[in-house]
Amino acid sequence: MEAIWLYQFRLIVIGDSTVGKSCLIRRFTEGRFAQVSDPTVGVDFFSRLVEIEPGKRIKLQIWDTAGQERFRSITRAYYRNSVGGLLLFDITNRRSFQNVHEWLEETKVHVQPYQIVFVLVGHKCDLDTQRQVTRHEAEKLAAAYGMKYIETSARDAINVEKAFTDLTRDIYELVKRGDITIQEGWEGVKSGFVPNVVHSSEEVVKSERRCLC
């Protein structure tokens, strides 16, 4: 039996190779941490329900992408149909932080005419002694791009729930306000099955989705 959910959001998780994208998603969707995990090739799919308010559930479909450059021709096809994204870097790997800008540029080109609501995630925060990126500079960068910043650890289950739920909540607010609208031919947001509830302002709008660019 299909669980009842208000909306379905498609999220994409991007960032350099080995910043911990798959581990973060597995912690979130399966509640476990795998010491070793094969490098992701192409794109993997995950899913989970989250409750953002009592009785209000959102179904998340999460695309886990390969970080290696060679897979870009495959992974970029998934940007367009995503409403939200987690952009990861590894706090112990300065280079992965320096590449954040490049990742944003990469998505911007391929997501047109839509836009993805991103959160910047500083991952592996349990390895604080090896930190190469300060929280301050990460926050500054995130602010410059109009993103929120959060630090997470899949190993110690720090902020994993929060990273996904906060992003989901932010998208939900944008949908509620009508800043993001459901459109045919776009998979980013879909309306769910909610018996006896009329979505007032959240009703399906078939007109052009407003571009936030």
Binding site: S17, V36, P39, V41, A66, R70, S73
Partner: protein
């Protein structure tokens, strides 16, 4: 009747009939020998198609891949030359792994090896180093593709099969590589490098820019499935499941992530016996593999469940019989389409 004998990998003992003289006797003149070798190579392929017995697998794989010459007399010299050549590459290139031009390649390989499927064997430091050297040398000698994740998986079957010759343990994963003599390990490393190179020669466009080989094969798979099982094809389409979403990995990693390692080894017996096994025949195997799950696929009634199922197929307990069935079905498909490209056409 040709069949595996205890010493079959020497090929020369394979007989046409119980009465025929051992083919080795044919080696009287160069011409006769050549003819005999061709005949033997063909026989060896036929035999290997249905699975190679473990004791003769290392030798047979080296023969089938074209690494080892069919001519028995030429084998020791060839092996020695190739092993020397490989270690000359190491000498020449390996120190450059930390140079600006190569450091990205090396870094990626270095972090990928320890996080491969938890095979205890691969996690041993000596083995990790071997894998790194093999992949690095291959990558810088093939700049059009370089190192692409997934290629690392392709080292494992060769390495495991070639190691089997030199360890006592039944389970290769339990073997302690540090007990294997250094020169033996060196030979295994060189043999693995060359056999993997031969394999990759046939599928390099899987890993070049934009991965055209994979794109094309996934399209061909879709076309094939639409003809052999329209119901499955329509079901996937109706639920907006795209072939690229699940079959990309099937092509990029040659199904190695979908079945246990011992099944891959058995699969490769056949791939190496088929012309263009890793590129062309693999396509039919993928089609048979998808249709193998038709009942489960047709029971799933939503995008999410379908994709989750297709990305996590329940093959953990698969054995040789499962692979044999899969291969038989793939062969049937190939046969049906080889001479009739329009067969089943809508």
């Amino acid at each position: 009747m040709c069949r595996w004998s205890p010493n079959a990998a020497r090929v020369a003992v394979c007989r046409r009939s119980p009465n025929a003289a051992p083919v080795a006797v044919c080696r009287r003149s160069p011409n006769a020998a050549d003819v005999a070798m061709c005949f033997l190579a063909e026989e060896l392929r036929k035999l290997s198609w249905s699975g190679i017995p473990k004791p003769v697998r290392p030798m047979t794989w080296k023969l089938l891949s074209g690494y080892l010459p069919a001519n028995v007399d030429r084998r020791p010299a060839t092996l020695q030359r190739k092993q020397k050549e490989y270690f000359a590459f190491i000498e020449h290139y390996y120190d450059s792994r930390n140079d600006d031009v190569h450091q990205d390649t090396y870094r990626q390989i270095h972090i990928d090896i320890p996080r491969m499927s938890p095979e205890a064997l691969i996690l041993q430091p000596k083995v990790t180093e071997i894998f790194e050297r093999i992949l690095f040398i291959w990558a810088i000698r093939h700049p059009a593709s370089g190192y692409v994740q997934g290629i690392n998986d392709l080292v494992t079957p060769f390495f495991v099969v070639f190691m089997c010759e030199h360890i006592e343990e039944e389970d290769v994963d339990a073997a302690d590589v540090s007990r294997v003599p250094a020169d033996v390990l060196r030979n295994v490393e060189a043999d693995t490098y060359w056999c993997m190179s031969k394999l990759l020669d046939g599928i390099q466009d899987n890993y070049t820019f934009a991965q055209p080989g994979i794109q094309m094969k996934v399209k061909m798979l879709e076309e094939l499935v639409s003809r052999i099982d329209e119901q499955v094809h329509r079901h996937l389409d109706q639920h907006e499941v795209r072939y690229l979403q699940f079959a990309f990995r099937w092509m990029n990693n040659l199904l190695m992530r979908e079945v246990p390692l011992h099944c891959t080894v058995r699969l490769w017996d056949t791939y190496q016996s088929e012309p263009d096994g890793f590129s062309h025949f693999h396509l039919y195997v993928c089609a048979a593999f998808l249709v193998r799950w038709r009942k489960e696929i047709l029971e799933e009634r939503d995008f999410q469940e379908l994709l989750l199922f297709l990305q996590n197929l329940p093959t953990a307990h698969w054995g040789n019989e499962d692979i044999s069935l899969l291969l038989a079905e793939a062969y049937r498909l190939k046969f049906a389409f080889a001479d009739a490209p329009n067969h089943y056409k809508k």
